[in-house]
Each structure stands twice: as C-alpha cells, then as structure tokens.
C-alpha cells in the first residue's frame, strides 16, 4: 500500500526552458501540421510572440524535473505497474518558445479501489512563467496496478 502520509507532500520547485527545436519535434511527433506550431513567421502572423507551447506540452516540460521519477521514488512505485489514469490542464495564459517555466508539484491525494488492487496518486502542479505569471494548473492521476 502506498503511504498516505505523503498526501500534501510538496516537491522542490524546478524550472524548464521552452526550446523552439523541441516544440518543432513535438509537432512532428503528434502529426501537427498547423504552421503556427512550427513556423515562427506563421506564429507571429497569428499574433503570437513566438512558437506557442501546444495544449499538452506542459506535461512534457513537467518531465524536465531533475528527477522525473521523484514521485515513484518517494512512494516506492514500480514503473512497470504504472498507468496514466487522468490528466487535466486549466489554462490561465499562453506560454511560448523562449519562456522559462517553473513547476510546483504536490501530492494532492492517495487512495485505492478494489480492495487495494488499484492505487491512485493525484498530483497537482502549478506552472508560472519567468515573470511570475500564472500559466496553468495541471492535475494528473497515476494508477498503480497490483496483481
């Protein structure tokens, strides 16, 4: 059983740079053909200051943590038993290539179902930019399968 004493645990904040090349690579990987996401001239023509961070890429930047497995390590979770249960983004403002985003993660809840066969870890992450502006909140649920 995961140790519920870690509910409320806050991880050390970290920051991640939004790199233009990474955004283009991500666009290729997800089949994005809208030039706004790969061509700076098209992005500017659409009123953006640079290449926009697409809707789900904040989750990828969250993996730029010094230890992307920090939650698994803290809770002693085997990566082979992990499934992604839910993911939500609440957006407050756009982020762009060249931004440096800060991530503050906390464990919002730990619970189980089916008599402990499935355990759930709820993570909440506040994202701010280099000006201290609130960019987004991420809400993710990781499922740990036993048996």
């Amino acid at each position: 059983m995961l140790d519920k004493q870690f509910i409320g645990h806050r991880f050390a904040p970290f920051s991640a740079d939004v790199e233009k090349g990474r955004l283009k690579f991500f666009a290729k990987a997800i089949g994005q053909t809208d030039a706004v996401y790969t061509d700076e001239a098209a992005a500017r023509a659409a009123g953006h200051p640079g290449l926009p961070v697409p809707p789900t890429f904040l989750f990828c930047l969250e993996m730029e943590a010094p230890n992307p497995g920090a939650i698994r390590d803290l809770l002693d979770i085997d990566i082979a038993k992990v499934l992604h249960g839910e993911q939500r983004f609440t957006y407050h403002r756009m982020a762009y290539a060249g931004d440096t985003l800060s991530f503050e993660q906390r464990i919002a809840d730990i619970y189980d179902k089916k008599g402990g066969l499935l355990e759930f870890v709820v993570r909440e992450t506040r994202v701010t930019n280099q000006r201290g502006e609130h960019v987004a909140d991420l809400h993710g649920i990781t499922v740990v399968r036993h048996g």
């Binding site: 990474r22 990987a29 697409p54 990828c60 082979a80 957006y91």
Partner: protein, 137 residues
C-alpha cells in the same frame, strides 16, 4: 476556424483519424515528449513486466485530441482540457478524434462552450474520454 457565433448544443467538431500508430510513432513521441518510460518503446522491458507488447502513451492521444481543439478554435481560447484514459491504445490502432458541444454558458461576461471529447480506435473502442471548455470570442 469554426463559426462560433451560431454554435448550438449537439454541434460536432470536425473529426479526423490518424494513421495507425507505429513503433516509430511511439519512438518519436518518446523523444519529443521526454516521456522515456520503456513500457512504450522497449518490447523486451514490456515482456519482462508481463505485457505482450509495448503500448501507446496516453498523452500521445491527448495531444491528438488537442489538435482537434486547436484545429477548431485558436489555442488562446482554450480554458480547460481534461481526459480520462479509459483503455490502452495499442500499436496499430488508428485513432479517430471527435467532439461535440454539450453546453453553452457564460463566465464573467465571457461566452463559453463545454465540449465532450473522445478517441476511439478502428473497432470503435473508446480509449480516451474527455472534456474541454473554450471561450467563444
């Protein structure tokens, strides 16, 4: 972009279907996303863990559904976007992304629409079920 002024509950977003997800798709997503979990790219690792094969990142399909949204509205209009990963997306699945308007409402003077979103594979199995809120101006 959509005609958002005359939007009605029940209206559908223009759906699309991806190419079947290949191992290359997963390798590219692994590198581009930074999600290096071997369950998605290393079949030897997957088999040692008792799985017959690697499977797709849930967040790859969430990114596909994100394309459905940004094809339809400017990304600056997206207020909230969430999904539940209800079934595993397998190698070879061709993913159809679709959405419908479920509610029109107003928050602090801003007209908004709530959308129901989903991905299904070529057999009609629902893989992701989600929702989003977008501003209509």
């Amino acid at each position: 972009m959509a005609d958002l002024q005359n939007l009605k509950v029940g209206d559908a977003l223009p759906a699309f279907t991806t190419d079947p997800i290949s191992r290359l798709t997963l390798a590219l997503y692994c590198g581009a996303s930074g999600d290096h979990n071997p369950m998605h790219v290393d079949i030897d690792f997957a088999r040692r863990g008792g799985s017959p094969d690697v499977f797709a990142h849930g967040m790859l399909s969430m990114a596909y559904l994100g394309r459905l949204l940004t094809n339809w509205v400017d990304q600056r209009q997206i207020r909230d976007y969430g999904v539940r990963f209800t079934a595993i997306t397998q190698v070879g699945d061709a993913i159809t992304c679709s959405g419908t308007v479920t509610e029109l409402f107003e928050v602090a003077g801003e007209r908004r629409a709530r959308l129901a979103l989903q991905t299904v594979n070529q057999h009609g199995q629902v893989k992701l079920s989600g929702d989003a809120v977008v501003a209509l101006a």
